[in-house]
Symmetry: C2
Amino acid sequence: MRIPKHIGIIPDGNRRWAMFNSMTKDKGYQHGINPGLEVFKLCQKEQVEEVTFYGFTVDNTKRPKDQTIAFTKACIDSVILLTKEDCEILVLGNTESNCFPVELLPFTTRRKFGNGGIKVNFLINYGWEWDLNLLKNSSASNKNIQRYIHSKDISRIDLIIRWGGRRRLSGLLPIQAVYADFYVLENYWPDFKTKDFYNALAWYDEQDVTLGG
Amino acid sequence: MRIPKHIGIIPDGNRRWAMFNSMTKDKGYQHGINPGLEVFKLCQKEQVEEVTFYGFTVDNTKRPKDQTIAFTKACIDSVILLTKEDCEILVLGNTESNCFPVELLPFTTRRKFGNGGIKVNFLINYGWEWDLNLLKNSSASNKNIQRYIHSKDISRIDLIIRWGGRRRLSGLLPIQAVYADFYVLENYWPDFKTKDFYNALAWYDEQDVTLGG
């Protein structure tokens, strides 16, 4: 089976899951922490080299306070959980805003935990405009783009998996996503099942790779 | 029904259609011209304000010569056909390369035909890196991105429809596509049916619009 080198995860549907389960919207996020750990372990098992979790964006921080507090806490807890595993963590996002949690500042350069190995990226207070605006600091003679954006340490994505049924990228790493294959699951992220992951891999295995050619 | 203001069209599957119909790959493209005109007329009828056709990319020009000649001709013919209609045409792509057809140079600033109305964009010898590299000429203090890229005259896309079953953007306007809903049809582009378009619109009507919020 052809395994993607880099998988992007869009863990959507936490609020809809909470409402469906008679909770207030903010209560959904904490139920998304374990699915994240499970996906990480499956990636590790299948020798995926890099996985990126779409934590929260600058756009998201305009939501009601109880929700922003809840998803920020869920993201912090998710990163801390992964420090107990063998991996190399990078947290990427706009640290110059109050919305970036100080607890995650130590992870803004990639750090190795345990025996290292798989790279895990968390996008935290990430914004696609923030990411790409750095290009304006670069010389026009520098042909490459990827090397001159904030997310330069995150590689091209092969497969994006989105939970919660929506068929859009919602600003996830526009440069790394240009050639990515996009797989959407209807179930909400807190209802993650192991077979979701393997269905996505099986589908990816059937796709060709042209990189636009 | 909620009609998208701007639809992006990825007319994929011409070569697979040709092979399926016992032709050489290059013969598929000419069968994609009429579907383009049909989609245009449907957009016009449903009062879509802008439609973008993914003609060919810098990546595509690395294909065998008979294919590049065939898709270039099909794109030229498609644009010329539309000059008989009421619309405002813009052809966008890297004109500094030999792969850009001289026949389409007159359309590289938007021109009105007939009574004007719907904007039609053709991406011809387009490259996402070429598009975004222009950002490097901009001052870092210019916050907006869209305004400083080559495709600045093309608006945000609401709905992308792709024929031919592949679930990827393949470098289509990464900035305008960040929040776009993405609808994929399994049939090849030359097998376009009117119901493809209406199925996409019906699906789009069921989506919410959050713009990342």
